[in-house]
């Protein structure tokens, strides 16, 4: 394995999530979904996971919260084995799913946010307070008595996120949470996720490189293997890595790459405009 592709930033401390030689195959498939994956995530890290469709990203998350059980290898999350003690893991690990509709279980927003708290047996007085805080954390004050089918996709996803935050999880697993949302919904959710940086450990699967360019590290999963574990800057600067894994840069970064202006330093199209002004100004002198 190319060493250059495994130099992502490392936080200190013991890993909160670790996989050691983990393999998994679905029953009706010949090919393994994950083949001997080893990785570590430390406390407070924000890790992006990208890769082509069918590469194993969603499978990986489901192994982490015990929805699936690894065929071989060790998975440890928040100190527990998700396959052996799923309930303990789920008290500490929240997962946000792709389809905003099917993550909401109760007829009212408030009740849905309380669902997780009910499951772990929190007392009623404490529940009220935690639901209130969670509602505030996602900016949905006033939505408590709304019914899910009256909400936009972005709002539904924020309700789901509130439900997870109410449990005060150490780790958040995000399975392409914005891919079914429109631009406004996406923005709303990403803003709230932004606020989580540093406070919790986050593993964010996405097929949109636009989304987590400020992650601490990015893992690239291809055909069930961990192909790369690098910083975002490194990822966007490596056309081979991108091409081999069918990853597409956002428009502004593609322009930057073609213009030789180093996409690694850019976040927005306006950043690129600035870079061009500088460079053409320098040329004029």
């Amino acid at each position: 394995m190319n060493n250059r592709n495994h130099e992502g930033a490392r936080h200190g401390g013991p890993p909160v999530v670790s996989c050691e030689n983990v393999s998994f195959s679905y029953l009706d498939s010949g090919r393994p979904a994950l083949a001997e994956i080893s990785l570590e995530v430390r406390a407070g890290e924000y890790v992006g996971v990208v890769g082509p469709n069918g590469g194993g990203k969603s499978t990986l998350l489901r192994l982490m919260n015990g929805l699936l059980r690894a065929d071989s290898g060790d998975v440890r999350v928040a100190g527990f084995d998700p396959a052996a003690e799923p309930f303990e893991v789920r008290k500490r690990v929240g997962m946000l799913f792709q389809n905003p509709e099917n993550g909401l279980v109760a007829p009212f927003v408030e009740d849905d946010i309380a669902f997780g708290l009910e499951n772990v047996g929190v007392s009623r007085e404490e529940m009220r307070e935690r639901v209130r805080k969670a509602v505030r954390a996602v900016g949905l004050d006033g939505y408590e008595q709304r019914e899910p089918h009256t909400l936009s996709g972005g709002e539904k996803q924020r309700v789901a996120l509130a439900g997870l935050l109410a449990l005060d999880p150490e780790v958040l697993l995000l399975d392409e949470p914005t891919s079914m949302l429109d631009a406004a919904g996406r923005r709303g959710v990403l803003e709230r996720l932004e606020a989580l940086r540093g406070a919790r450990t986050v593993v964010h699967v996405t097929h949109d490189l636009d989304e987590r360019l400020d992650a601490d590290r990015v893992l690239v999963l291809g055909a069930g293997r961990l192909v790369a574990d690098v910083s975002p800057e490194r990822l966007v600067s490596d056309p081979d890595l991108l091409r081999d894994n069918r990853l597409v840069l956002p428009t502004a970064l593609r322009l930057a790459a073609e213009l030789g202006l180093g996409p690694a330093q850019l976040r927005t199209p306006e950043d690129l405009a600035e870079a061009i002004v500088e460079k053409s100004g320098a040329r004029a002198r």
Binding site: P52, N53, G54, A183, R246, T251, L272, A273
Partner: protein
């Protein structure tokens, strides 16, 4: 085929406490052989608007004209065959035991011969890159594959105008690119495409004209460079890069598509006057 919305208003649940005016007097032409991009936020009325193009929804007031004549004079079945509408997340409507049968549904409803139906199924599946899926069950496919089949199912009617409501929603970048290619190919062979999208970058790449909808009204309509460069809040990434440069360097022009933007920026950096 030219479709024109003439001062179309649409009110949902009229007379009840839940009354909502989704379209407030929209006038908009869809020209033959063009790709028209319709952009706007949630609640802008985009989906309501496109459902008027084949009269799946009828205006509360105003008219829909097809080649100058009131669309209501055309038989419903015929109109829906000439204006194909693909809803958002269309794969939710896949129902037949095999992909072939599902795509055959619409052309069969048109009363075509089995031979013609078969030909069309093959052709549209080929265009959408889904020929290898013909004998499979639609329910066993991946999201991107289902999307292709669903679009093929409407295309098999050989409509003169294809209306796509958020065709790339929820898809990975590779499939998105493929679908945009299909849009271009369709325009090449003379089919008009109306594409509703919240993704401005996509619209920028394929649209001949752009319409901005806001709150049930048309805010702007015209050539992409007209619309995008005049509206600060509605701009694809390419325009967002170029716009700050137009002050000091007006020679960069108003490119919208990726290739032309790249060329303009290269020219700028290489000091071409």
């Amino acid at each position: 085929m030219r479709i024109e919305l003439e001062n179309v208003r649409h009110v949902y649940a009229s007379g009840t406490p839940f009354e909502v005016e989704a379209l407030r007097g929209v006038s908009l032409p869809v020209e033959p052989e063009e790709v028209l991009g319709i952009v706007g936020g949630t609640g802008s009325g985009k989906s309501t608007l496109v459902q008027h193009l084949n009269l799946l929804l009828v205006p509360t007031s105003g008219r829909v004209l097809v080649d100058g004549a009131d669309a209501r004079t055309i038989r419903g079945g015929e109109l829906r065959g000439r204006v194909g509408l693909v809803f958002q997340f269309p794969e939710a409507a896949l129902f037949a035991p095999t992909v072939e049968e599902d795509v055959a549904f619409a052309p069969r409803r048109l009363g075509l011969s089995e031979g013609e139906v078969h030909r069309r199924v093959g052709e549209t599946l080929g265009l959408l890159g889904a020929s290898h899926l013909a004998g499979r069950s639609p329910f066993a496919l991946s999201g991107g594959e289902k999307r292709r089949v669903a679009i093929a199912g409407v295309l098999a009617m050989a409509p003169e105008v294809l209306v796509l409501d958020e065709p790339t929603a929820g898809l990975d970048p590779a499939t998105r690119e493929d679908l945009l290619g299909v849009v271009r190919a369709l325009r090449e062979e003379g089919t008009s495409v109306v594409m509703v999208s919240h993704d401005l970058d996509e619209v920028a790449e394929v649209a001949d004209r752009v319409c901005v909808l806001e709150n049930g009204e048309v805010r702007a309509v015209g050539a992409p460079e007209e619309v995008f460069y005049s509206h600060p809040t509605t701009a694809p990434s390419t325009v967002r890069v170029v716009r700050p440069l137009r002050g000091p360097h007006p020679e960069v022009g108003r490119p919208v598509r990726f290739e032309e933007t790249l060329a303009a920026l290269k020219g700028l950096l290489e000091g071409r006057v």
